[in-house]
């Protein structure tokens, strides 16, 4: 069968000011690429780390988008390719969140999960009968079909900072049984938790050369038996990993630590003993904690925000990431804001969790932004974000050295950062 040259693009977005910038290898495109038919040759460009060659020979263009801040750039990229006579299909998380608008810029839009669906899409493309919409939002493929992602399409050297390779992204489940206020995952992946079979997870982990991973699942704490089985099976691999929440149960935490839990993200939404004790339990098992702190909730006054920041310093968080509440489509916060007519900024480029796009309940948007800056500045006043990150990094290096998995940095890339030469200060 004649080969189809498929150009897959991951649009760039503006990075947040004042924060350490890292470019991680994207996950959505490599998962999607694994579901392509054999006759499709894929060439991938992550615009965050390299420029797009709009004249690269190809038959068909795919644009994969994860963030709301990517969609406008994705639409512009599509226009460039369509001007050159190429057909463009969109997919990915933010395509699903912004599907109606995206259809205005696309020859085709794919909604849902790609496993077992791509043969239809590419066959239609080949027969010149590409559909405007492939809607598989409500029909998820069996979770067993999720196979090892195609990480071979990535240019690994671009995800490297001064010789240190960035973590690889990986997922062990889909869907989420929780309906958290600011989150759209249950809309995107369904409201039931769909864990991958453990043998499939381990099979994929074994294919990843990188020892350091980011398990991107929304929450692993949704099925204790599966979670414990997962951690038990991961122990022999000696990987070191970051993840979102894991279950706060000593027997789970013990297994997680043995399986290589490096640090976890933990939402900190109040100053309760519950949070304090939870953080302590992670630390007791040698697991670091990066607090994720949402500012601008309706119940937060200025004093509450200041108290919360003092509390974060008291509880010895390893890192903290502050974000401004952002009403992403298909979340409860979006519905609430729409009903209350509180959204004043509809520019998706501003939906970066660093910009106030709505009227907060207890202060002006400007004051909320000031407090957001105050939170970053205060938390990192005595030790910068880079210094705190270095401590966590040193921790993982020590653990790798003790279990024989440490790989020194790539000396050939010590003068490069994400594909660009490092400009060193001569002073």
């Amino acid at each position: 069968m004649t080969e189809i040259k498929f150009k897959l693009i991951y649009p760039k977005w503006k990075k947040l000011e004042g924060q350490t910038t890292f470019n991680l290898p994207p996950h959505g495109p490599v998962v999607m690429a694994a579901s392509l038919p054999e006759y499709v040759h894929v060439s991938f460009t992550d615009e965050n780390v390299e420029d797009i060659d709009f004249d690269e020979p190809c038959d068909f263009v795919g644009i994969s988008m994860m963030l709301s801040t990517q969609v406008k750039r994705g639409w512009a990229i599509a226009q460039e390719f369509r001007k050159r006579g190429k057909k463009v299909i969109f997919g990915g998380i933010s395509t699903m969140l912004h599907a109606e608008e995206t259809m205005l810029y696309a020859d085709s839009v794919f909604l849902g999960e790609s496993e077992s669906r791509m043969e239809e899409v590419f066959s239609d493309f080949r027969n010149n009968s590409l559909k405007k919409l492939y809607n598989y939002l409500s029909i998820q493929p069996p979770i067993e079909l999720v196979g090892p992602a195609r990480r071979d399409i990535l240019n690994r050297e671009l995800y490297n900072h001064k010789g240190v390779q960035m973590v690889d992204l990986f997922h062990a489940s889909r869907g989420c049984k929780f309906s958290c206020y600011p989150c759209a995952v249950s809309y995107l992946g369904g409201r039931s938790f769909r864990p991958r079979p453990i043998n499939k997870v381990i099979e994929e982990l074994e294919t990843i050369e990188n020892n350091r991973l980011f398990i991107v699942d929304n929450s692993l704490a949704q099925n204790t038996e599966w979670e414990m089985e997962l951690f038990k099976s991961m122990i022999p691999l000696k990987k070191k990993w970051i993840s979102h929440t894991i279950e706060d149960d000593p027997k789970v935490l013990e297994l997680a630590a043995k399986a290589g839990a490096w640090y976890v993200y933990q939402a900190v939404f109040d100053t309760s003993d519950y949070i304090k004790e939870r953080i302590k339990r992670y630390h007791d098992f040698g697991i670091g904690v990066e607090g994720t702190i949402l500012l601008g909730l309706d119940n937060q006054s200025e004093d509450d925000i200041k108290r919360l920041i003092d509390f974060l310093l008291e509880i010895d968080l390893d890192l903290a990431e502050f974000t401004v509440l952002t009403p992403f489509p298909h979340t409860k916060v979006y519905d609430d804001m729409i009903r209350q007519n509180r959204i004043f900024d509809h520019d998706w480029n501003h939906y970066n969790a660093d910009t106030v796009v709505y009227k907060p309940a207890q202060m002006s948007p400007e004051r909320l932004y000031e407090l957001y800056r105050y939170a970053w500045d205060t938390f990192y006043k005595d030790e910068t974000q880079e210094q705190k990150m270095f401590r966590l990094f040193a921790n993982v290096v020590m653990r790798e050295m003790s279990d024989g998995t440490f790989k020194p940095r790539n000396r050939n890339l010590v003068n490069m950062s994400f594909g660009k030469e490092v400009v060193r200060n001569s002073n």
Binding site: N135, S138, D298
Partner: protein, 123 residues
């Protein structure tokens, strides 16, 4: 957090955005003058689109299935109390008005009402 609410008589299945199978709580009160339609969000028990994401389309589907004249409808969206410690799951109620053009409801406009006002609508 299962939604149990005195303002829900039945669970109504509807087509959400992109035809996603979706569900909401429904209570209909008919009188000579108008019909009150009380639509409740079900959160985790709603497998698809929220009621607010497709307000006008959902109102049309209910009018069609229950033979309600959209021009004589009082439409109320309800976020039931979820007994959560997080205050954004406390009870909120909104009346919704629409423009009605060529037999189709459009442009939903929301106005928050108190529980007392809600009770007046359904008494």
């Amino acid at each position: 957090m299962k939604v149990v609410d005195e303002y829900i008589d039945t669970v109504y299945q509807f087509k959400g955005l992109w035809d996603l199978p979706s569900a909401c709580g429904l209570k209909i009160l008919r009188s000579d003058k108008h019909t009150v339609v009380l639509v409740s969000e079900l959160y985790r028990e709603n497998p698809g689109t929220s009621i607010t994401n497709v307000t006008a389309s959902l109102a049309m589907q209910i009018c069609h299935d229950h033979e309600i004249d959209p021009k004589k409808m009082i439409y109320i969206e309800r976020c039931p109390e979820m007994k959560s410690k997080l205050n954004f799951y406390s009870e909120r109620n909104y009346t919704v008005t629409f423009t009605f053009i060529d037999g189709v409801l459009n442009n939903p406009q929301y106005a928050e009402i108190s529980l007392e006002e809600l009770r007046k609508y359904i008494s």
